[in-house]
């Protein structure tokens, strides 16, 4: 996934309205029709229907439900923890990817395989495993307790769970870019007088940045949508460690379908806006990159 390739792909579209631009590839009509139908069926119709149902409750009630303190706090926890986890992963996932690409050491393959574990495990397994360790009677939890704070059953626990599930996204998106880095570029920087740190911040990081942002976006999206691992470690205390998906389930269990739908729609809206924002950020870094 080189930036050069992706920008050349998007370039012609910028020239203008390319919808009916002549193309040498056959079957555009069929493929486009299929794409549209597929997206409608899988994404647009279910989500649109949900939004319509939410609209049924009326404008005032919609806002009353979403702006309730407990709901607002759940939003804050969901998005805040997902963002924190994605940013933590951006740093440490990058370090892991760096170590895996740059160094040859015994056990490298095992670590390499371990990175993918969060991908493969059912998230409830992750939840149980993490809770066992971070709960006040688990051995890391006990240390934290001795130091005077709690990990499990607080937003901190949620962040840890999201770091766990999000890590492979960063490592796996950054890894190929690191592998493609030309050693000569670093040597060029060194011979021009740059320190290791300057080489990293001025040469390497800008090259990795588009991939890193993609990884962060994926990890963030995954974190926002995460349910299984979080409900175990979060303890789900309202207005403390309750996430939006759990709130929706809680409303459903109380047969409050309208409330559940409204919160779900609000969640969808916020997620969409955030993904859009990340997309713009990506385009911006890419356009600064090799044009």
């Amino acid at each position: 996934m080189t930036a050069a390739a992706s920008t050349t792909a998007t370039k012609p579209a910028r020239r203008g309205w390319a919808f009916l631009a002549p193309t040498i590839l056959p079957g555009f009509g069929t493929a486009f029709g299929f794409t549209l139908a597929y997206l409608c069926l899988i994404v647009l119709i279910p989500l649109g229907h949900m939004a319509l149902r939410a609209a049924d409750v009326g404008w005032d009630r919609f806002w009353a439900i979403t702006l309730a303190p407990r709901v607002l706090h759940a939003f804050y926890v969901s998005f805040g923890c997902a963002l924190a986890a994605a940013l933590i992963n951006a740093v440490f996932g990058l370090v892991v990817a760096w170590v895996l690409v740059r160094y040859r050491f015994p056990g490298r393959r095992i670590i390499d395989a371990m990175v993918d574990l969060p991908f493969a495990l059912p998230t409830s397994v992750a939840g149980i495993a993490l809770t066992a360790i971070y709960a006040p009677n688990g051995w890391i939890g006990a240390l934290a307790k001795a130091a005077g704070f709690k990990i499990a059953f607080t937003p901190l626990g949620i962040v840890i769970a999201l770091v766990f599930v999000g890590m492979p996204f960063i490592v796996r998106t950054v890894e190929p870019v690191l592998q493609d880095l030309d050693a000569e570029v670093e040597e060029a920087a060194a011979s021009l007088g740059a320190t290791r740190w300057q080489t990293f911040t001025k040469v390497l990081l800008p090259t990795i940045l588009p991939a890193l942002i993609t990884g962060v976006a994926l990890a963030f999206a995954r974190g926002v949508g995460e349910y299984g691992s979080v409900i175990f470690i979060a303890g789900n205390i309202p207005a403390v460690s309750e996430i939006v998906p759990l709130l929706i389930v809680a409303r459903l269990e109380q047969y409050d379908y309208a409330g559940a739908t409204v919160i779900a729609t609000a969640m969808m809206g916020v997620s969409f806006l955030m993904l859009l924002g990340i997309n713009f950020l990506q385009r911006w870094t890419r356009s600064r990159h090799a044009r």
């Binding site: 050069a4 030309d182 000569e184 570029v185 040597e187 060029a188 920087a189 060194a190 011979s191 021009l192 007088g193 740059a194 320190t195 300057q198 001025k202 040469v203 800008p206 090259t207 600064r288 990159h289 090799a290 044009r291």
Partner: protein, 354 residues
């Protein structure tokens, strides 16, 4: 700045990339490192730049040992074979890089950086492309950006690894001339790597011929061309006829006739006689046999485009290439199939490798 290289060795695993290389680079000269692929040219250059470490031996700059000086403290401009430009930076920022990473105390003000970069870009004739990205440049333009970037730090030494390797013949020729002028203006001690003998001979003040991690010969282009140290150098400097003969009692003989050779003749036994095509002397074959001391050959093909004619001759079953001026060719009135006499103005003989 003068560079002294003493007994530098470098091995990669069991493979010896440099086996005891010693060389003095004079201050301000333009030196060519010439050798076939894998002969250790890049390795030597990287050791001088501090990008690799020698296993043994030492490199000193103006008499100061460089062992403990990291690449970034050496003030060596390095132009990589594949340019290694920073592709997320514009041409301008690429060239400014070396100035912007200087320590605060030494860093010029942004305005001075601008002025200096503009100057460099004008010098490499790229000022109109300052805001482009490397991916938007041609190979020759990238090459010049890499050069300007290396020059920005006012290096004491400029190292160029096959600077024209990836360019087409025309651009190569232009850049070659341009680099020579640049060097004449700036007088930075420069070493460039090439495996193109024509480039080395045309451009350099002195040529270093390398093979298998060893320096075979050092000298001016004329010296190495006219007095090659051994058969390898003779061969590598291009365009040579190799004729199997013998050495008998200290005389080189080809088909029984004595060959006048330059330099030492060597021990008796099978030998190879080396003659450059333009040292082959052709003459009109007399009607009655062949004059003593000369050979006779038949023209098997003839290329007479340009100022120089190239002939392929058949000398008793051996292919022999000869070069002569078009005028001389018409004097001789040779054509394909005709006979002529052959003599050698200058030849060298080396014992045949078993």
């Amino acid at each position: 700045m003068a560079i002294e290289i003493r007994n530098v060795e470098k091995t990669f695993g069991a493979f010896t990339a440099l086996g005891g290389v010693s060389l003095d680079v004079r201050s301000g000269e333009l030196l060519a490192l010439l050798g076939p692929s894998g002969s250790g040219k890049t390795t030597l250059l990287r050791i001088i730049a501090g990008l690799d470490h020698a296993d043994a031996g030492e490199v000193s700059f103006d008499g100061q040992d460089t062992r403990d000086r990291a690449a970034r403290d050496r003030k060596v401009g390095f132009v990589f074979q594949h340019y290694a430009l920073f592709r997320h930076m514009t041409v301008f920022d690429n060239v400014a890089f070396g100035l912007r990473v200087k320590k605060k105390a030494e860093r010029p003000a942004e305005m001075d950086i601008r002025r200096r970069v503009d100057q460099l870009l004008t010098m490499v004739q790229l000022s109109h492309l300052a805001s482009r990205y490397p991916s938007q440049l041609s190979g020759g333009q990238r090459q010049r950006v890499a050069l300007a970037r290396a020059l920005a730090i006012e290096p004491k030494v400029l190292l160029l690894d096959e600077p024209f390797g990836a360019l087409d013949a025309k651009v190569r020729k232009d850049l070659r001339k341009w680099l020579r002028h640049l060097h004449d203006d700036m007088h930075i001690t420069s070493i460039f790597v090439t495996h193109d003998q024509e480039e080395a001979l045309e451009l350099a003040d002195r040529v270093v011929v390398m093979n298998h991690g060893q320096i075979i010969q050092v000298g001016t282009p004329a010296e190495v061309y006219d007095h090659p140290a051994d058969s390898f150098v003779f061969d590598f400097l291009g365009g040579v006829n190799r004729l199997n003969g013998v050495i008998e009692a200290g005389v080189a003989r080809l088909d029984g006739k004595a060959v006048r050779v330059d330099g030492a003749v060597g021990a008796d036994g099978p030998a190879v006689i080396y003659v450059r095509p333009h040292q082959v002397e052709l003459g009109v074959a007399p009607a009655d046999g062949v004059p003593d001391g000369k050979w006779s050959a038949r023209v098997s093909s003839l290329h007479a485009a340009g100022p120089v004619a190239r002939l392929e001759l058949d000398l008793a079953g051996r292919a022999l290439e000869a070069q002569l001026s078009r005028d001389r060719l018409s004097d001789l009135a040779l054509e394909v199939g005709s006979w002529c006499t052959v003599d050698f103005r200058h030849a060298r003989v080396f014992p045949a490798k078993s």
